[in-house]
Structure formats: structure tokens, C-alpha cells
């Protein structure tokens, strides 16, 4: 039970890391390798506001999210749209966007280094235990988990209830047909990419309350996010949530019952098992 709850909390963190990438990859078709840098940038903003003015990271989100939205919208319009236009096949877009966003991640690391310096940044926020069923959990982790629940819930509702959300899902499923029924694919893809960036930066602000970050750590988060998104199935919010929670629980199980040294090995084993038996991901649809 205790292991399960700890795993769920970790899964909440993973959902925060991966949710944004799911939007970017699922809807906008951009495999964004600079995703982790956006997360670190969000975390840094939270750190800066907290140390400078004691502003709660949960309030900082109100500033971080729109900023990240704008920045990512610009990135999409200026950098990625030409690639989308140029690409003849999905495969070409994938390899082009991998290379372009990898370059972008370098640029982002360089910029953050220039702005923040190379030092570790961390602070103590809500670092208090909360007791549940006789076991202690970090309040900041619980709070971040709640944040993840709120974000995922809102996204899910929006994608399923609003008109824009339905169009998004149409693009994720069949971009060519979506165009036929009058959906402006380019415009919505930009929105999806920007929204994904905003979600990622928000996640960064929330997890910075308990993780130590520095300008160069983004790539580790990108890796985790990619695995979760692929495991869950591209373009499906539920898939990402389930995959994130599953990964959190499995890692915690392995760490508690087998050996903490094998957590990542377990994560990759799980990843490959899922790919072998359900290549489209847990919730993904088979691509035609």
C-alpha cells in the first residue's frame, strides 16, 4: 500500500513531465527534444520568484504558463512550420524535427547558462511530511500530484468537450481527413505545440519544489517524457496518465523490493515489453 502510494506520487511527477510532450508530439507531430529545457526553464522561474519574493511556485504558474505558451507558439511558427511544410512524409518530418529540436535544446541550454549560470538551483518549499495511513509523504510531492491531477483533468475535459479540443483529437487521429472537414490544421498544431510547452513549463515549476535542477539537466527529463508518451500511446491523454502512473509504481516496486540500482533498467524493460506486445502504445491506435 505504502509502495503503491509512493509510486503514484512519483507517477504524478512523471505525468507532469510527459503531458506537454504528448500534446506536442501527438497533435503537432513534433518530437520535441527540447522539451526538458522548457521544463527546467519553468523550474527556474519558480525558483527565481520564490527566492526573490517568496512567491509560491503554485502562483508563479500564472506567469510561467502564458510566457511559455507565447514562447512555444513563436518557436513553432518560426522554426517548425517550415519543416512541416517541407516534409513530404511523416518519417521525414520526424527525423527533421528530431534534429531541429535537438539543436534547439543546445540553444536553450546555452541561453539558460548565460542567464542563470551553471549552478544548481533548489529551494525548500512545503518540504513537510504529511501522514497518511501511518506513513509519511512529502507535502510538496502531494501538492505537485494534485497539480498533475488538475492539469490532466482540465486537458482531458477540454479535449473531449470543447470544439477546439475535438478538432485537436481529429488532427491527432487523421490529419488529412481533418483538413477535409474544414479544420485549420496548421493553426491548431501551433496552438497544441504552445499549449504543450505551457504544460511542460508548469510541470517544471511544480516539480522544482522538490527536485534539484541545473541548466544542463533537461535532457534527463526529455528522455523520461519520451518513454512515457510512447508507452502510453501517442496523442492520448489517458494513455500518458496511465503510463506515467504505471512507470512510477513499477519503479517504486523495483526499488523497494528488488534493488534501487535497477529502477531505470526496470523502466526500459517495461517500455520494451509494451512496445513488443502493443506497438501502438497502451491507448494508441494502430497507424494506417
Amino acid at each position: 500500500m505504502d509502495i503503491f502510494l509512493t509510486g503514484l506520487l512519483l507517477g504524478g511527477t512523471y505525468a507532469l513531465i510527459a503531458m506537454g510532450l504528448n500534446l506536442q508530439y501527438g497533435v503537432a507531430r513534433i518530437m520535441n527534444l527540447a522539451n526538458g529545457e522548457m521544463l527546467v526553464a519553468g523550474g527556474f522561474c519558480a525558483f527565481w520568484f520564490y527566492t526573490a519574493g517568496q512567491v509560491s511556485p503554485f502562483l508563479t504558474v500564472a506567469i510561467v504558463a502564458p510566457l511559455a505558451f507565447a514562447a512555444n507558439w513563436l518557436i513553432y511558427q518560426v522554426m517548425l512550420r517550415p519543416l512541416v511544410k517541407r516534409a513530404k512524409t511523416r518519417g521525414q518530418l520526424e527525423s527533421d524535427s528530431i534534429l531541429a529540436t535537438f539543436g534547439l535544446s543546445f540553444v536553450a541550454v546555452g541561453l539558460m547558462l548565460a542567464v542563470f549560470g551553471g549552478d544548481y538551483f533548489n529551494y525548500s518549499y512545503l518540504s513537510r511530511p504529511v501522514t497518511f495511513a501511518g506513513e509519511n509523504y512529502g507535502l510538496n510531492r502531494v501538492a505537485a500530484f494534485c497539480g498533475a491531477v488538475v492539469i490532466c483533468g482540465l486537458l482531458y475535459l477540454w479535449l473531449n468537450q470543447s470544439r477546439a479540443g475535438l478538432s485537436m483529437r481529429a488532427i491527432a487521429t487523421a490529419p488529412a481527413s481533418a483538413r477535409l472537414v474544414g479544420i485549420s490544421v496548421g493553426h491548431l498544431a501551433a496552438i497544441a505545440f504552445a499549449l504543450g510547452g505551457a504544460v511542460t513549463a508548469t510541470g517544471g515549476a511544480l516539480i522544482s519544489t522538490f527536485l534539484t535542477l541545473d541548466a544542463s539537466t533537461g535532457v534527463m527529463f526529455t528522455l523520461k517524457a519520451l518513454i512515457i508518451v510512447i508507452m502510453g500511446g501517442v496523442g492520448d491523454v489517458r494513455g500518458t496518465i496511465v503510463a506515467a502512473l504505471l512507470l512510477g509504481v513499477v519503479e517504486t516496486l523495483v526499488a523497494s523490493l528488488i534493488d534501487p540500482g535497477l529502477t531505470l533498467a526496470a523502466a526500459y524493460t517495461l517500455f520494451i515489453l509494451i512496445l513488443l506486445f502493443r506497438p501502438q502504445g497502451l491507448f494508441g491506435r494502430r497507424q494506417t
Binding site: 539543436g103 540500482g261 520494451i272
Partner: protein, 310 residues
Amino acid sequence: MTAAEIRTLILAALALGVAALLPLTGSGYWLGLGLNIAMFTVLATSWALFSGPTHYISLATAAFFGLGTYTVGLGFETLPYWSLVALAGILGAVLAALVGLATLRLSGVYFVIFTLGLAELVRQVITWAQNMSGQKGLYVLTDITEDHIYWQLVGLAALVYLVGWLIGRSRLGFALRIIGDDEEVARHSGIDTARAKVLLFMVPGAVAAITGAMLAPRYVYIEPALAFTPMLSFQVVIMALLGGAGRLWGPLVGVIPFAILWETISSTFPNQTMLLLGVSFLVIVYVLPKGFVGLIDTVRRRLSNREGWT
């Protein structure tokens, strides 16, 4: 063998001979740069042997490289160095076969992500095993100098080119070209596509592991973070694509300018290295989408067109 082929072979042998003379200049600086170029030529060319025809982007170079480095680090006390280099090659090929069997049925992007994670996975397993066995730090203290490592790498490069050339002439190469054009067609015409891809994937696996083993004496102290750096995988991909993965000599024309560019940026702008490397990366992707090979082909085509008119 046609006359043109013989001419190419002689030219290649000459080029190799000239490359092998570099250590005689006695300049450590140029040797260091040359060593870098030789290393990436080997890695990028073997990478393109697989990825060129199949269009799979493999980010597993660091996994194999680290495996090779650790083979030497862990076995250094008990086995002679030369046998370890060979062993690294075998282990690399076996790992590549395993990975290939498991993942090459997947479509492109899943393969990309899995190979990216592979370096991390192999690193975990190796460090965990090292921890369990209680083995201390790994020091590869030898008398092998940069000259030796350079010559080894040039030799390995010759081998890679030879293998690439032979594959290109073989049935396997023919099968791969069909797979690259259309996998469906290949399957219908009776080609065992999975087997062909796995066999081919073993080449970059073995070569990267051998390269890692050859460089272990240069690093002396073997650390997981340094042996399995994911940066290496990306560098190899970028250099190969900058050159052009469709031709055997393609990666070479990417490696040389990129290594020089990297060196220029690192030396001139030590505080903005990452930023500028990122920018040059972007420029390559946007301005040279087909690599130098594509550029050269376009120029050639234009020239011949012009001749045709006049």
C-alpha cells in the same frame, strides 16, 4: 571488378596512406583533431551503413561505445588488451543482434526512442553489476599513446569502408536497397527483411564497441557518465546526416567540416559553446537538408545541365 572500381580502390588506399602519416608531423594538436575526425568517421560511416538504406535513426552509438569502453575497463586486469578489443566487437555485435531482434520490427520513431534509452539501460546494468561485484574504480593505465590510437582508428576506418563496399556489392546490399525503397515490396519479393536489418545493425554495434575499446586507454579512468554520454549518439547522427547517409563516403564529408566547426567554436567562444553549436546545428538542418552529398549532387546536376544547353 571494373576499371572504375579499381581506380576508386587505389584512390582510397592512397587517401588512407596519407591519413596514416599524420602522427609523423609531430604536432599533438593536429593529431588530437585528427584522432577526433578518425573516431567520428568510423562511427558515422558505420552508422550510415545501417541507417542510410533502412532510414532507421539509431541513437544507440553511445550504448555500444560505452560497452566497449567498459569491456576494456573491467577486463583490463585479467586479459591482454588486444583480446579485449576483439571481445568488445563481439559483445557489441551480440547486443546489437539482441536489440535488433527485439526492436527492428517497430516502426521508426519507437526505434529511435528505444535506442536513445539503450545507452542508459546498458549503463545501469553495468554499473549495478560493478557495484554488486564490489569492484573498485577502473583504471586503464597503458603505454598506448595517441599515435597508436590514431593508427588503430585509421585501420578500423579502412575496415569499415571495406565492409561497406562489400555489402554494397553483395546480395544483402541489394536486399537492403529494396527495403529502403519500399519494405512492403521487399517482403513480397521474398526478402527476409527482419534478418537483413538485424545483420546490418550488427555492423555499427560491433564497430562502435571496438571504437570504445580503442579509446579506453586514452580516457585512462573509466566512468559511466563519460563512457555513455548521450551526446556522442547525437554527434554521430548529425555528422552523418550533414554529409549524407546515402553514400559510403557521405559521412566523411560531414565529419571533417563538423569536427573543424566544433573545434573552432569551442576554442573561440568558450562561454557560448552550447549556444553556438545549437545554432550551427539548426543552420545545417534548415539550409542543408540533404547534406553535403545532396549539395554536391545538385551542383553537379546544374553544371551538366548547363553543359547540355551550350
